[in-house]
């Protein structure tokens, strides 16, 4: 079955990101397909490559990134929500003349259309809100 997930909560602050990640692992383990994880609202912070939790704690952006590499996942951060909150890739940093970019490997910035497309394409769309 084809799943997509929508994540609206900030990592390290509320449990939405953790729940979405655990759910993603479980559905992949069962052999289902994960079409996309779409990060919106405070969920965009899941893609920060600068997140530096203590070494004995989970690193949520890195965990997503590794899962994406293993399973060729499409991790999409809403570009409008991301820009507002300071989540930039090299292209956007350049365009807005910002001094740095901070997107973790495996994440891409794209439009809200990707959320809608995920809802259209997937058999199940699960929202992890806060």
């Amino acid at each position: 079955m084809i799943f997509s997930l929508a994540v609206y909560g900030a990592p390290f602050s509320c449990q939405a990101s953790d729940s979405a990640y655990q759910f993603a692992c479980a559905l992949l383990e069962q052999g289902h397909r994960l079409h996309r994880v779409f990060f919106y609202h405070d969920g965009v912070y899941n893609g920060s490559t600068l997140a530096t939790p203590p070494q004995d704690e989970r690193n949520i952006p890195t965990s997503w990134s590794q899962l994406a590499e293993e399973h060729e996942l499409d991790l999409v951060i809403c570009v409008a929500a991301g820009l507002r909150r300071g989540m930039l890739d090299a292209t956007e940093a350049d365009r807005y003349e910002k001094p740095a970019h901070n997107l973790e490997q495996g994440f891409t910035l794209s439009g809200l259309g990707q959320l809608v497309e995920a809802a259209m394409i997937s058999d199940r769309m699960i929202t992890f809100g806060n």
Binding site: A6, H41, A80, D89, T91, G111, L112, G113, G129
Partner: protein, 129 residues
Amino acid sequence: MTETTEQPAVNPKKLLFLNRKAPYGSSLPREALDAVLMASAFGQQVTLVFLGDGVFQLKTQQDPSEIEMKNFSKTFAALELYGVSSIFVEQSSLQKRGLTLDQLLIPAKLIQSHELTELLEEQDQVMSF
């Protein structure tokens, strides 16, 4: 970044957007509205429901200029342009909050909770905001 509004070649889906948060205290209502417009641009069968504190999003006379926020309630007018006409407000939510339909800034239909129950069941996907 690539923003595509190209419509994927699948049949339109019934997508219901369930709005339960009050405006300004959270930016989620505003972000929900953007998603609704996008779904409509993609040619989907969009239904918009306001439940609980979500009904406050439609209150007339919003003016957040003093708190330096944008009056996103003006964007609700775009729903008509986008052809989104399936807009419902849950009756008891409105009543509990002392609001009437004429205090809402767009024409919305009243819906009873049991009707909403059925409406949810008819959808392909429900997007909660």
